[in-house]
Symmetry: C2
Subunit: 409 residues, 2 copies
């Protein structure tokens, strides 16, 4: 089945090389026969690393591997394959990771625990480790500092467009650069739709500070995007810092010196996360959901995610129907403090309902026009407090059924 490019796709930006990073893509034939499916990154010795992973309690072997490797805080390589997730593969899955790391480490002259691994694709099929390991020398021979674009493509599975983002930031007087790529189209979804994202910078940041930045940035970006409520077994986000730019020393705990870097990293993560929603399986519309007036930020987030994950809200938007009744339902289903008679709902900035009822004389013309667009904004005011949250999702269309109802066949 050939999937048309998402109408919400954005072009890949120019991604500058990052000092201390080289990457390469290679057609290893692990699953796909006519495209690159193996991606390798080489980082200069001394590169620090941070990571966040799926909360799924049945994660893949590569997630286990990375979590353990992360304890060292150092990275010299990243090996990614697309087409086979190496999930639910038992002992063979663990051995595949160990062998991939050992062989890569031998070829590069580093420790196996400095090799990070990510796999995305079908669950429950053995990874052909011989094929992967056999392809490593050819892949490593192609390492190139200017290969972000091909890497963004070779990590794709059901994605319909490659995803990348870049920013610069100041640390003291020095300018550092951040580049990141991502794949995923049923974010927080398994199989071919796992979310993987790899970000690198030439700044010199201790692993602990890097981890703090990444965890905080994820909370406001990838953790605020959902496609279908399903949670991948393989979601992996890694951030590498090569330390090739000279700037004032960053203390282990980070702090004020990283303020502008945190802003830039946040923007990169946010842009990548939104691209995942824009490439949601079958997506025709990007939906932004703002919840205000909840009893806390956490409560607002939960309500926003209940709206974002509601199949009935998402199908209504696919049908360009400003069905605020379904939004009320989704708010009530969240289980968070809410009072029907204090709820207000706006679509595209037009308030349709206030304090528990439709606005008298409500004219739906601007709302109907807004619903026909590619980007739909929903605002729900709970009317109880000051907690707020913003999340993103996409509509639920026939395309989602097409992609997921005939995936392996």
């Amino acid at each position: 089945m050939s999937i048309p490019v998402s109408p919400l796709a954005l072009p890949l930006p120019e991604m500058p090389p990052i000092a201390g990073v080289a990457c390469a893509s290679h057609a290893a034939g692990i699953r796909y026969k006519t495209r690159d499916d193996l991606t390798v990154f080489r980082f200069v010795p001394g590169t620090t690393v941070a990571g966040v992973f799926t909360r799924n309690l049945c994660p893949g072997a590569p997630v286990d591997w990375c979590r353990a490797a992360l304890k060292g805080g150092k990275a010299q390589a990243l090996v990614v394959n697309a087409g086979n997730a190496n999930v639910f593969t038992g002992r063979a899955g663990r051995e595949a990771c160990e062998r991939t790391a050992a062989e890569t480490a031998k070829l590069l002259g580093c420790k196996p625990k400095e090799v990070f691994i990510a796999s995305t694709g079908v669950i429950g099929e053995r990874l052909p480790t011989d094929v992967l390991v056999g392809a490593l020398p050819a892949a490593l021979a192609k390492l190139d500092a200017d290969a972000w674009a091909s890497a963004a493509s070779s990590i794709m599975t059901t994605d319909t467009f490659p995803k990348g983002a870049t920013r610069t930031a100041k640390i003291g007087e020095a300018t550092v650069t951040i580049c990141g790529i991502a794949k995923g189209s049923g974010m927080i979804a398994p199989d071919m739709a796992t979310m993987l994202s790899f970000v690198a910078t030439d700044a010199k940041i201790p692993a602990a500070a890097l981890q703090k930045l990444l965890s905080k940035g994820t909370a406001k970006s990838f953790n605020c995007v959902t496609v279908d409520s399903d949670t991948s077994t393989s979601d992996t986000l890694l951030l590498f810092a090569t330390g090739q730019v000279k700037h004032p020393r960053v203390p282990a705990e980070g702090g004020a010196i990283l303020k502008d870097f945190a802003r830039a990293l946040g923007e990169v993560l946010h842009e990548l996360a939104l691209m995942v929603a824009r490439d949601g399986e079958g997506a025709q519309k990007l939906i932004t959901i703002d919840v205000t007036g909840a009893v806390s930020a956490k409560s607002a987030y939960r309500i926003a995610m209940a709206v974002a994950n509601s199949p009935l809200v998402k199908t209504a938007i696919a049908g360009e129907d400003a069905n605020w009744g379904r939004i009320v339902m989704a708010v009530g289903k969240a289980g968070e403090p809410a009072d029907r008679d204090k709820l207000s709902i706006a679509v595209g900035g037009t308030w349709m309902a206030r304090e528990g009822g439709v606005i008298p004389g409500y004219d739906e013309t601007p709302v109907v026009a807004h619903m026909k667009g590619r980007e739909v904004e929903i605002t729900v005011d709970i009317g109880l407090g000051t907690g707020k949250a913003r999340v993103w999702t996409c509509d639920l269309t026939h395309g989602y059924i097409d992609i997921n109802g005939s995936y392996r066949s």
Copy 2:
């Protein structure tokens, strides 16, 4: 849009009259123009009543009304309208309930609090109370002890077939009868798909005992069925006992004397709940999910519901793909204790994976054949304890998108 009858539909059984119950259907023109949309039940004075309602925190005015009325424990009437849910209608919604109850009580010579009300249909539109109240005399004039079948039809909205079930039971030496009807096709879904169910018996059971039976029966039936994870603002299940059959006195707290009655009630509720799954919007397959070996029954239930609500599991089944990778994902996403390396998964009784990996030499022939059928059985053994649960759902198809993506237009 005309919706074809579900391929999983079952015929309505013969429903005998229940002594002390009469009902009638009427074309009141509240929303629909060419069909009955108003249903009224008359119960003999002294009838006791029990109820369970949606857990949605933004329920409709009729749910609030019934919850309050239930405190009296007595019922003489039930008024149901289809096409308008009277939800998110503010003060007008409350007034509509008060006036409907007052007018019905006046016509029947009972107290307003003995009148129960249920509404299903579009959310956020004012109920035309004048039309409803104006139609009451004509509807009540048609009251008939033998009208279960027409009542089962007149409460429908997006349902594709009427749903009813009946059983007899022994209380002492006496035989009592239970009849019930239900509507709902996006169970636990709003708008036209709310679940309503009304059950009546000629047994004489105190309200407290009746409530205990109903709450227990619901936990194993309606609360184990899901279509799309969405939670209606109007779900209502009411059980009426007219006390017209002479049998040994049932104590207020119920107890052993109701053992056979509880069995029969459980069967009626179970049959009705499964019919709701069979009529799930767009459903082509009925899915039974058994979880065994969880750390507790509650944990098993949560895992089973995570599998049942996973869009990726449901689309895989629609595509007749025994994609157990997605089942692993859904188990992990539940957040309940689970160990990837102890999971076993069977489809149609054939074990595909055991203890964290595909079974060596696994032959998928019987699984492929099973997946082509109308009823699909999934078993997940968690391998950690003795907790178990069984839930039902349906597949997620293009039909769901058709129905929900173009509902109001």
